[in-house]
Symmetry: C2
Subunit: 87 residues, 2 copies
C-alpha cells in the first residue's frame, strides 16, 4: 500500500497543544493555527465571559461564515466566466 505523504504537526492554539495529522504542509498547518488562535483571541476581547468551548465554537461559526461568503463570490465568478464563454 502506498500512502499519500502525511504530516504530523503539533501546534499551540489558545494555550493548548494540538497534533494535526494530514496532507497539508507544515507552513500551512502553522498558518491555520495562527489564524484560529487570532480569531479566538479577537472573540474573547469582544466577550470575556465566554469559556474556551464557546469561544472555539464561535470561532468555527465565524470561519464558516467567511467560507460561505467566499464560496458565494467564487460561484458568482464561475457564473460570470460561463456567461462570457457563451457570448
Amino acid at each position: 500500500m502506498t500512502d499519500k505523504k502525511r504530516t504530523k504537526i503539533t501546534v499551540n492554539i489558545y494555550k493548548k497543544n494540538y497534533t494535526i495529522v494530514g496532507s497539508e504542509s507544515k507552513e500551512r498547518v502553522e498558518e491555520i493555527a495562527k489564524l484560529v488562535d487570532e480569531k479566538m483571541n479577537d472573540i474573547y476581547q469582544g466577550n470575556k465571559n465566554l469559556d474556551t468551548t464557546r469561544l472555539a465554537v464561535l470561532t468555527a461559526i465565524n470561519t464558516m461564515n467567511d467560507y460561505l461568503k467566499l464560496k458565494d463570490e467564487y460561484d458568482e465568478l464561475i457564473t460570470l466566466i460561463e456567461e462570457e464563454d457563451k457570448n
Copy 2:
C-alpha cells in the same frame, strides 16, 4: 443613528445554545450552525476521546483549512482572468 439591520438568532450546536448577533439572514445563520454541528459530530466519530473544547478547536482548524483552500482556488481564478484580459 441608523444601524444596518442586525439579526439575533439562537442556534443549537453540539447540545449548547449560541445566540448569534450579526447582519446575516436567519437562513444563513442556521445553515452555518448546521455545518459546524455536522463537522463537530464527524470529528467526534473519528476520535471519541476528544473533549468538547478540543473538538470545537479542531472544527475551527478544519473549517479554516477549507477556507484557505477555497481562497487559493479563488485567487487562481482571478489570476487566470487577469491573464486572459491581457491577451
